[in-house]
Amino acid sequence: MTDLTAYRNAARAWIESRVAEFGRDARRGLSPAEDLELGRRYLRAKYEAGYSGISWPKENGGQGLSPTEKLTFDREEILHGFPTEYFSISLGMPVPIMLRYLPDGWKQERAIAALRGDEIWCQLFSEPAAGSDLAALRTRAIQDPDTGDWVLNGQKLWTSWAHLADYGVIVARSDPGVAKHRGLTYFWVDMKAPGVTVRPVTLAAGDAHVNEVYFDDVRIPDAQRLGPVGGGFGVAMETLIIERYSATDPAANGPSIARAIADATRMTRDGRALIEDGRVRERIARNFATQAALAAIHRRALLSLEAGTQPGSEGAIHKLVSVRNRQRLSEFMIDIQGVSGVQWNEQATRKDDWATSWLTAPTGRIAGGADEMLLNTIAERILGLPQDHRPDKGVPFNEIPG
């Protein structure tokens, strides 16, 4: 038995011992506050068992192991629907980037508090006019020449879990007179500071985990700056690539193929099981083939990591294909239910309900890189095709036609 197999077995045993207390079934019917509290308890249990920050350095509260062990653990964890979503952004990017840039001491305390679920960080990047085009953001950071403090004014949008967050990392425009990528600076901000207002945005399926966040004369000391003045875009890019490769679910958090087969076997039309219908067979079989390929790509990426090479396009392929695949299958599974297909249970999750899966799928095709951006990335970085025409290139930000 390899070390990794032993690690996987131990992790699996621990995870399975927690399913009754924290798993999908335990969460059913909880209020949002109760579910968050359950999540915090789960993170504490995980921290104490030594499964938090698996690939982080030990001095930051981590385990000092490789990304392979982390992926191995995550892969087992995602099967059970534990309440980890509140902390996924926090531990994924803001805390690791903070650890890289801030001096020792205070940051270790924050990291451990975040690993234990006691504190949550958010990432304040997107704005109403700056989504895929991140460098187009307009939130202003003006330095007070007397104190050196920065004063933030503006609006961020689509900020996941900002309503729960204690701290956030933020990119703001410190110099509108230079080309858009060069005039940005990166900070961390106390989300409870005066002048910060968080307003939840309700999404199409009724959930409200994203927010708009307003900054009105929010003062922050220069010590809260990460990286050089004007170097914010670089730090933002560094933040976005910290999670080089993450655990994947070929069903993209939708219902499984086994569920589709079971449903189509149970449902009938004109007295015949729907699974006997060639159209149903075709849709499910092709969806399965795609999911099988994603799983195979993931296994190969894990092996590459073990062999010491970085995965390449696997993450982009997975995000692009898996959500689209889920959207199509969910749409179809609603379709074959006939008139009953319109039913929707607001309490259901996207993992166990076709309608919820379908309603929430568009988010997955937009958040964290829209399909079109991923296609550009594949075309430009992997296939060497030309970049899109960018008329704002090299033009000072305040001279770009709005």
Binding site: I284, A285, A289, A293
Partner: protein
């Protein structure tokens, strides 16, 4: 078997690509396209000399004792070069049938010759639209076979064929030596004439049942799945070649003052094609690594579906990206279009493999 290639495997792939590029061209295939039932003997001799025909056979029969992945890499190189040799996968399928279900005598007679490439094999299960007919029209009685099998790949050149035939006890698999009186080969005009496709008619000819295939339909399905994995690699090779060709052209060809690859309508089409190829490649490699395991059939079918979608889709798009030049006889794109559709149909159409996936998923769900 690992799904990361080792040094030896990478060497096999590189060598195959190098040799095929040196010995092969689209011009050569075009001469075969114009004539019904042709076969590239010179290229086949190269396969034998390189040991590519020997890959999946045990050393006792003159083979190299390697696996599906190694043969897959050769098939991938053949797919990229869109070679005119159907026998790579047809001989493989006959060899697998003999290794799985044949007698010692059948094996010792045929396997050394298949391994050396001096004999060519074929399989003939399908009849009309049925890939695996439950009640074949081909009749076998007392070791004598009569009837017809339509559109047998490499049927015009093969030395032996495995047929799915009806005996008094139900369907059986039987081996037929094609060098005997009573065998008639009718070469067919196809849109890919180099496959040497023929209707095979048997008039009271000698045939030997494969005693190991106690359930002939299940046995035939197993052989088809093994062949499908190798063909999937061939399809991936062709799709990858079409992807690269489209990409290169999009970088060279200019319109409205810039390379056409700068237009999102073109660059996104090519990026989508890259994804199709990567999905198909992942499934083919995974299926090859599952040979001999209980879930092999499921992943073989998945590989087949992804590979068919990829090769048809990418070659279709490559022609589109090329515009007018893409539809000419001179450009080699139509060679891939023809081959993509031929490979899709020969080894079982999508509907067959989709049914196979669903049936297996239902089995595992119970």
């Amino acid at each position: 078997m690992s799904v990361l290639f080792d040094e030896a495997q990478l060497q096999i792939a590189d060598e195959a690509q190098r040799l095929l590029t040196a010995h092969y061209s689209g011009e050569r295939l075009k001469t075969y396209l114009l004539e019904r039932g042709t076969f590239d003997r010179e290229l086949w001799a190269l396969f034998g000399a390189q040991g590519w025909t020997a890959i999946c056979y045990p050393e006792a029969f003159g083979g190299l004792d390697l696996g599906l992945l190694e043969l897959g890499l050769i098939a991938e190189a053949c797919g990229a070069a869109v070679t005119g040799v159907a026998a790579l996968t047809s001989s493989f399928a006959l060899g697998q049938a003999l290794m799985h279900f044949g007698t010692d005598e059948q094996q010792s007679h045929w396997l050394p010759r298949l391994s050396a490439g001096s004999a060519i094999g074929a399989i003939a299960f399908a009849e009309g639209q049925d890939m695996l007919p439950g009640a074949p029209t081909l009749r076998i009685e007392g070791g004598r076979l009569s009837g017809m099998k339509p559109a047998v790949t490499a049927g015009g050149i093969a030395d032996a064929v495995i047929v799915l035939a009806q005996s008094e006890n139900g369907p059986v698999l039987a081996l037929v030596d094609l060098a005997q009186p009573g065998v008639t080969r009718s070469l067919l005009d196809t849109f890919d004439n180099s496959r040497c496709t023929a209707d095979l008619t048997f008039d009271d000819v000698e045939a030997r049942e494969l005693p190991g295939a106690t359930d002939a339909l299940a046995g035939a399905r197993e052989i088809l799945r093994l062949q499908a994995v190798i063909v999937s690699f061939e399809q991936v090779g062709g799709a990858q070649k079409m992807l690269t060709t489209a990409r290169d052209y999009a970088l060279t060809r200019r319109a409205f003052g810039q390379p056409i690859g700068a237009f999102q309508s073109v660059k996104h089409r090519i990026a989508e094609d890259y994804v199709l190829v990567e999905l198909a490649r992942a499934n083919a490699i995974h299926a090859a690594s599952r040979a001999g395991q209980s879930d092999f059939g499921l992943y073989a079918a998945a590989a087949r579906i992804s590979a068919t979608e990829a090769y048809d889709g990418v070659s279709r798009d490559a022609v589109q990206v090329h515009g007018g030049i893409g539809v000419t006889w001179e450009a080699d794109l139509h060679l891939h279009q023809r081959r993509a559709r031929t490979l899709s149909v020969e080894t079982g159409p999508l509907v067959f493999w989709e049914d196979d996936v669903i049936t297996q998923l239902q089995g595992t769900a119970q």
